[in-house]
Symmetry: C2
Subunit: 314 residues, 2 copies
């Protein structure tokens, strides 16, 4: 079968793929093609795709496609793209790294790690005078937006910190907060708000300007879901610049990459983790392992993991 690999892999990982597929399979790596014409031709011949062709319309070129394995959890960019092929995503694949990035960012602000990095560059010891700016994660009051795999993993990582945790989700049985009104009622007590929601029409703009104003002056706003969770990102910038809230840990932003002159770079007490939340040293290797497992199931007509409806976004 002809397999089009959209995702960029290092040579060692390409070798891993080549070694694992059958001799009758033909692997075409996008990053080895030259020019749009070659790419469109390869897409039109592909029976299987590994990765996320962009822009989404490109996928309509893959008229022989039987299955696409996305290299992501989210797939909202393909909403409305109708293809007569199976589609699978990476679902829970990023739960552990994303949850760790949230906890790492929060602890970095609470325990001063962001300041220590800058002081180390200057070879400057401030010591004792830094102590009273530090805070503790232990016993904090936490609201997690979303009770999916990232949200649940975030709660799991907090186990040893004796936090009070409430989930906001429309339908999940774990969620104590089910609608905007309940969330607004809980925000004035929260030390941490951690956004772990996927990008869907329902989550777009869900965290309103008003909600930012309801947060405590020392509360942190954190987001590892989608940048457009915020109704108005500039309202967050304003709250940070004027220290109306305590800080932010942002893995995602409205614009990515964030332009060099963006106001968020200048916000105090803010960590910008540059949409690396899902990343880790074995990410590519594990992704290939997952693809090969699904490839075997696909060829043998067995149940595949993480089947999704590409067109509807679920």
């Amino acid at each position: 079968m002809q397999i089009f690999v959209e995702t960029h892999f290092k040579p060692s990982f390409k070798l891993l793929l080549r070694d694992a597929v059958n001799t009758t399979d033909k692997l075409v790596f996008k990053d080895e093609l030259t020019g749009e014409a070659e790419e469109l031709k390869a897409l039109s011949e592909a029976e299987i795709i590994l990765g996320n062709p962009k822009p989404a319309q490109k996928l309509l070129q893959a008229t022989r496609l039987k299955w696409i394995q996305l290299a992501s959890t989210g797939f909202e960019i393909y909403t409305g793209i109708k293809i007569p092929a199976l589609a699978t995503n990476l679902k829970d694949f990023y739960a552990v790294p994303c949850a760790e990035t949230m906890i790492a960012g929060i602890m970095s602000l609470y325990r001063g790690m962001d300041r220590f990095s800058l002081l180390k560059e200057k070879q400057q010891w401030l010591g004792v005078s830094l102590r009273e700016d530090l805070r503790l994660l232990t016993h904090k009051n936490v609201i997690i937006l979303g009770a999916g795999s990232i949200g649940k993993q975030t709660a799991k990582l907090l186990t040893g910190f004796d936090c009070t945790i409430r989930f906001f989700a429309r339908t999940s049985p774990e969620a104590g907060l089910r609608n905007a009104r309940q969330l607004e009622g809980a925000l004035p007590q929260a030390d941490l708000v951690i956004g772990c929601l996927p990008g869907t029409p329902e989550t777009k703009g869900l965290f309103t300007r008003k909600m930012i104003t309801l947060m405590k002056p020392d509360a942190l706003f954190c987001n590892v879901g989608r940048g457009n969770l915020l109704e108005d990102e500039s309202a967050l910038v304003d709250a940070l610049m004027n220290e109306k809230i305590g800080g932010a840990v942002l893995d995602v932003t409205m614009q990515e990459p964030l332009p060099a002159d963006h106001a968020l770079w200048k916000c105090p007490n803010t960590i910008i983790s540059q949409h690396t939340g899902g990343g880790y040293i074995d990410e590519r290797k594990e992704m290939i392992r997952f693809f090969l497992k699904n490839l075997r199931a696909f060829k043998e007509g067995k149940p595949m993991e993480n089947l999704i409806h590409l067109e509807t976004g679920y």
Copy 2:
């Protein structure tokens, strides 16, 4: 009674102390005295001391002393100082903040927070290319040196991360590693070594040059106990500079403050938290609360908390 307050407190906290003691108690704050002579006079009149007079010999001036409440957990500087007074320390007081600083430092290195801080200063987005340098704390193999309150709290914070944890301690029933030979045997498998040992003659130089060489190339050496845990700090610098180990999280160092030209500032993948590990926003307030509780017990002849033998260091 005359109470000499060695520890520096903000005016609001001094007020808290003044309001809490009896009208017959006289509070003398060291930072309100001018000159050594006034200080020595106040010490000679003190029946109670709050804080840690330095150098240790100064304590011998306090001939009327009945009780000293130290503002620290460690008190090795007073070893050999014989005074006919009660002594109490802050024992478990710093367990939560110190353990949090260790986890914050480790996660900062694993999840790239130290790099994000520097990139934010430069307003520079690197994004995807950073992902494969990131690592996960989940499932790591951890050795905790010391099974006291900080070591145990560190293990507690790791609960949600599914780590394998072994304690090194001579006598604690929790400790799987009891002597240098057993520790050396375990080091080649460890991802993290976290020093949580107090400063005693037995712990000085306990972590040897050889032990550093036994660590994995991606392992982190972390220390929130005492800088002299290392037999040879320059061997650690060498290991870091030549990337023989993965990095370090150092709350304590041999020299404090670390001089501006010290080699540790230049070590890659290293967090220097400037002996702030025990610090947090409510540290002073909680310290006063603890002192007042012990003061009441002292006056009423009831059992006091955290009694220690100053002279012997235990």
